[in-house]
């Protein structure tokens, strides 16, 4: 019974570790907002909201990593990767938007967001550093 309990607990820890990698919404440190509604996050990444509160331009950064991107889409955008691709193809082929900048490496995304005024992106909480600002999502 004890072995089963330990095995079960180890399984829970592993499972928790797999899903607890929290995805944070980050932005350039100069962005005035500290808290934004989840609906606004969705509208920003869908290219509907293109300006911050001070009317400065929003620059979107996404990751090419399929798992990280899918996790972010599910958590914040409520879309699947295929829906996301279809949506942005619509934007691009109607001239209503340009494809968000996408990065192979999280480090490159961090560097871009830290260096680009108005930039917004997302990151696994474990990889966060102090060059960017974390936005609180309500």
């Amino acid at each position: 019974m004890g072995k089963i309990a330990i095995f079960f607990m180890m399984g829970m820890v592993l499972l928790t570790g797999m899903v607890s990698a929290e995805t944070l919404i980050i932005c350039h440190p100069g962005v005035q907002e500290t808290t934004i509604p989840q609906n606004t996050v969705r509208k920003i990444f869908l290219g509907k909201t293109t300006r911050w509160g001070d009317h400065s331009k929003i620059h979107i950064a996404v990751l090419k990593d399929r798992d990280a991107h899918a996790l972010f889409l599910k958590r914040y955008i409520r879309r699947t990767p295929s829906q996301w691709r279809g949506y942005w193809k619509k934007m691009v082929f109607t001239g209503k938007g340009i494809m968000p900048k996408s990065f192979d490496a999280t480090g490159d995304s961090l560097t871009y967001i830290a260096a680009t005024p108005g930039a917004i992106g997302y990151i696994d909480a474990d990889l966060l550093n102090d060059t960017v600002k974390v936005l609180n999502i309500k």
Binding site: K48, T49, P81, S82, K90, F93, G95
Partner: protein, 382 residues
């Protein structure tokens, strides 16, 4: 000459970008090749019966430059073929500047995709939707060239409460030998038009992203005033004014998408030389559902109904003229599949069970009111 103009526009936009990086300058394109086959009757201006047709494609290439934080300019060239329409002539699909300095207000000028209903602006983009053919009650091939783009000016933005708006005013495209002319030829009996012109055109679209997550409700309108010129039986004009209204609902919940739209279109026309005028009111609606089973497979279905005259949904007038009553309607039950072979390649296959002969070429000796259509299409995009 047109090819040179297009090349110059591309070069101008390319040179306007301060640097060739993904954020200031982007080049994208798509190639779609399809196949259509019906068991009887010819549909969509193509010879779809007998051996079917491969005259069903779209090729597009665009270049867009984000000139600065406020201004974006771009152009897309499109070549398409659908039976007798398009014939792969290269045209400027859209070319406009977009100046945006507030979420609430942006300006556009040039040739723009007309905002109308849920899918009119993206109807050329096969990769962006579940089915190959959009429901014809709203996205009819008969009026496609006239409601596809507007050349003029536009405003757009988002308003408090989840509202989004778009409005355009200017003129639109009308050709002497494409969908509108062919449809008007059927209505009036005038065998051929030799020229076409548009006086004005407008469109407006309002969408409400409701507090219910994934639920969007919309309303759209468009209109235009135009003239078709003919020589036979006597030189004269066919003047008409078209006005249309759509109510739309779309609900996206995870992998499930549900949508429905209703349209009413009125066409007032006159032929001064014949002292003839009249009004036709067309009606249509559809219900659509699609479900993404996994990353590479999606299945969908829609039921589409359209009537060519709301005063005669049963086709009594056609019957009285000795024609099939079924010319008054077209009902389409579609089953669609989509296979995402990769991020840049999509294959689709769908079947349509049709009831009716509206906008269909049929054998007058033996009209077949119930018929089938198969459509297949492969699309590459980058």
């Amino acid at each position: 000459m047109k090819k040179y103009i297009i090349a110059v526009i591309f070069i101008c936009i390319a040179s306007s970008a301060s640097a060739f990086d993904a954020e200031s300058l982007q080049l994208h394109g798509f190639l779609s090749q399809g196949y259509l086959k019906t068991n009887s009757n010819d549909a969509l201006f193509a010879r779809t019966s007998s051996g079917g047709t491969f005259e069903f494609n779209e090729f597009g290439l665009n270049i867009v430059s984000q000139v600065d934080d406020n201004l974006r300019v771009g152009v897309q060239c499109l070549s398409r073929d659908l039976g007798e329409v398009g014939n792969n002539e290269v045209e400027i699909d859209w070319a406009y500047g977009d100046y945006n300095y507030r979420n609430e207000l942006g300006f556009r000028a040039g040739k723009m995709k007309t905002p109308y209903g849920l899918y009119n602006q993206s109807r050329d983009i096969d990769a962006a939707r579940s089915s190959i053919l959009l429901p014809s009650s709203i996205y009819s091939e008969s009026f496609r060239e006239s409601i596809s783009t507007t050349i003029g000016v536009g405003i757009y933005g988002e308003l408090p409460g989840g509202l989004e708006y778009q409005a355009v005013y200017g003129t639109t495209q009308l050709k002497k030998d494409e969908g509108v002319a062919k449809t008007m030829s059927q209505i009036t009996g005038i065998p051929e038009f030799v020229d076409a012109s548009v006086d004005w055109a407008y469109a407006g679209d309002l969408k409400w992203l409701t507090p219910v997550e994934g639920l969007t409700v919309g309303a759209s309108t468009l209109g235009y005033k135009a003239t078709l010129f003919f020589e036979v039986p006597a030189p004269s004009t066919f003047d008409f004014e078209a006005k249309a209204y759509i109510g739309s609902v779309e609900y996206i919940c995870g992998d499930l998408t549900l949508a429905s739209e209703y349209q009413l279109m009125a066409v007032d026309y006159s032929i001064p030389a014949f002292h003839k005028n009249g009004k036709k009111e067309l009606e249509g609606y559809y219900f659509l559902a699609s479900y993404r089973v996994n990353e590479w497979f999606e299945v969908g279905s829609y039921y589409n109904i359209e009537y060519s005259d709301t005063d005669d949904r049963k086709g009594n007038a056609y019957r009285a003229q000795g024609e099939p009553a079924a010319k008054a309607w077209l009902k389409d039950l579609a089953l669609t599949t989509r296979f995402d072979v990769s991020d840049n390649m999509v294959f689709k296959l769908e079947g349509h069970l049709m009831d009716g002969l509206a906008n269909v070429s049929y054998d007058a000796q033996d009209p077949d009111e119930t018929w089938y259509m198969l459509a297949a299409k492969v699309t590459f995009s980058f």
